[in-house]
């Protein structure tokens, strides 16, 4: 909750914009310093996700109707649970409804299903954002629970899926935090629009509307494939298909070397992409940086097609490490994405993604790679057919997994080595030496311990290309 004084200043700045586009441009331009959404983010998200028009006088009907919808839904879906009046006392008093009877028409089994759904959600909420005291409060967990419950009841064909709670959490935090408590006597004329949009009485309502708007685009990522069961991501679930597309189409177009490398290592893209995408990168970046990333994403593309390109941009930024790492190190790196450092904060992935969307080719990829590492990837034509025939992936795969030492002598790696600037040359040398040790130690029967040691050494190595 903010004071009127605090939000008044933000609102003044906000009024300098005259359209969604001007606000969006400023968000994308300023992402290196601070977001124009700070302090008034709740309003900005509403604007990008469900308010159709920028002009403040047009907000009121949309806000009140979306709030009414939630009030009605909540009363209908949650009311019976809270008041206990679920029709279980109706009917013939001589033939009471048996609470223990099975059958879908029994209101008691409906009640049991609802209670089960709520238990399932609560289980996740208890572990949600463990470092954030805000989310430990009972009131906050109840609000998240009710929002999720109403959404899941509305989307009963899908129900609750793990991850949704981590989408709701930042939304609720933003809406709650940006709400403004004000006395209506002290407000200026046009501030009433802001106060209506940031009304603390409707935190839960607005959280639901925002969550619903996000899920409108994010829902397919949570769906299971047709021939898959409830246990695993089998079959052709949309998210697995999307991961495959990001790897084999998008990444292949901008950085074929990295795409092939990941394929050789047999790193399944869905292993890390499911988490990246379903949580909208919520686990990959610190909370405050995540909000700024969402600002840019919501402003640029509320349909979230940009998410695919953001994933590619994230892969490109760590591509040099990825190219050198083995399977387990690669997975560790992808599932523990390095913390972006100033000025390359997470929001820059959005501008990279926009660039990649417009330049989905080798030069586009090379531009993004060199932007953050000052190194350009080996030009693909250098892989002349003689050196690297089309069938080479399997051959190279065997080699590189067999002996990491020999890989440095392969034409591709040799090519890369030549382009390394001197600053990281030493590091590269250490790396190669380390791999040599690992390779030899395998012969001595010391493979495992030394490998682990080396892994640790390399893990502790700062990601200097980020600077």
């Amino acid at each position: 909750m903010r004071s009127l004084q605090e939000s008044r200043q933000r609102w003044k700045e906000f009024n300098a914009y005259n359209s969604k586009d001007s606000l969006k441009d400023d968000i994308l331009r300023k992402q290196l310093t601070s977001s124009p959404c700070d302090g008034i983010r709740s309003l900005c998200w509403k604007l990008f996700l469900y308010l159709p028009d920028f002009a403040p006088p047009t907000w009121s009907p949309v806000l009140s109707s979306s709030r009414d919808v939630f009030t009605t839904l909540r009363a209908k879906l949650l009311g019976p649970l809270e008041t206990g009046n679920i029709g279980i006392y109706d009917g013939d008093p001589d033939h009471p409804i048996d609470p223990l009877a099975e059958g879908p028409s029994n209101p008691w089994s409906k009640l049991r299903k609802d209670e089960e759904l709520r238990r399932e959600i609560i289980q996740d909420l208890e572990r949600c954002m463990p470092d954030h005291d805000y989310f430990r409060s009972e009131k906050v967990q109840k609000q998240m629970l009710d929002v999720l419950f109403v959404y899941c009841k509305l989307n009963a064909d899908m129900g609750y899926r793990q991850g949704m709670h981590e989408i709701v959490a930042p939304i609720l935090w933003v809406v709650d935090n940006d709400a403004v408590q004000a006395d209506f006597e002290e407000i200026l004329e046009n501030e009433k629009y802001m106060l209506e949009a940031l009304d603390p009485a409707y935190v839960e309502h607005d959280t639901f509307s925002l969550f619903q708007a996000v899920m409108h685009s994010a829902r397919p990522w949570y769906e299971l494939g047709e021939d898959s069961d409830d246990i695993g991501e089998k079959g052709n679930s949309p998210i697995v298909e999307k991961s495959r597309m990001i790897h084999e189409d998008l990444l292949m177009a901008v950085d074929p070397q990295l795409a092939r490398h990941l394929k050789e290592l047999e790193v399944l893209p869905q292993v890390f992409l499911i988490r990246w995408i379903r949580l909208l990168f919520g686990r990959e970046f610190p909370f405050d940086q995540l909000l700024v990333l969402w600002d840019s994403l919501f402003a640029e593309d509320p349909d979230f097609t940009l998410v695919d390109y953001i994933c590619v941009a994230m892969l490109l930024r760590i591509r040099w490490e990825l190219l050198e790492f083995d399977y387990s190190m690669t997975l560790t790196l992808l599932l523990r994405y390095p913390q972006p450092k100033h000025p390359n904060l997470p929001a820059t992935f959005v501008s990279d993604a926009i660039y990649l969307r417009n330049h989905l080719d080798l030069s586009g990829g090379a531009y993004i790679i060199s932007k953050y590492s000052n190194r350009t990837p080996a030009p693909v034509p250098m892989l002349s057919p003689a050196q690297s025939p089309p069938t080479s992936p399997s051959r190279r795969g065997i080699r590189s997994s067999d002996s990491p030492v020999r890989r440095t002598m392969s034409p591709i790696a040799g090519q890369t080595a030549r382009t390394i600037p001197s600053s990281s040359g030493l590091d590269r040398l250490v790396n190669d030496l380390a791999k040599g040790v690992v390779g030899r130690s395998k012969g001595w029967g010391l493979g495992k311990p030394i490998e682990r040691l080396m892994e640790e050494l390399q893990w502790n190595k700062p990601f200097e290309n980020e600077k």
């Binding site: 649970l81 008041t83 206990g84 279980i88 006392y89 008093p93 009471p96 048996d98 609470p99 223990l100 009877a101 049991r112 209670e115 089960e116 709520r118 238990r119 609560i122």
Partner: protein, 206 residues
Amino acid sequence: MTSRLVLAIGDLHIPDRAAAIPAKFRKLLAPGKIGQILCLGNLTDKETYDFLRSVAPDLQIVKGEFDVEAANLPLSKVVTHGSLRIGFTHGHTIIPQGDSDSLLIAARQMDVDVLVWGGTHRFEAYELEGKLFVNPGTATGAISSGWWAEGEEPIPSFCLMDVQGSVLVLYVYQLRTDEKGAESVSVEKVTFRKELPAPPITDKAI
């Protein structure tokens, strides 16, 4: 939020006087349906205890005179649901056993709105002085040492309680056997409202 249904069950006497909880009861008491169990004692074995635990992990239990293996169980307990305090005890310490005046004294001493007791193997539910008294009977139909009319036998029964605010709805489950020996479960409903002028005593004993 777990299920809000509270199960009152007791006087099972397995394996000394009955082999098992009737199959039709076991089928009804599937896991996940019950939020809390008030067990009035005389189980008397470990398997029955484990079964009840599987029905609902929140198993509140008091000691019957035959629960010799569990010496540390309390003789009575009180739980709160909605605005109702519900006390329960096996009843062998209330003398004369099942006497309504003695039960009323016990209910006042425990300061409860509802007193659940057992020991007589006979279902009863009545209001007295604004308090509800419930005896769920025996879940197995185990014989009792009390007085029984010629040809009369204990009927297997248990109770469910659903508390919303100050209203308690009691569901009574009884296993009936017709002349041909076919079993069926009957369900009856009794509603109790706290702090309303007490209606005439309704003795639901069969």
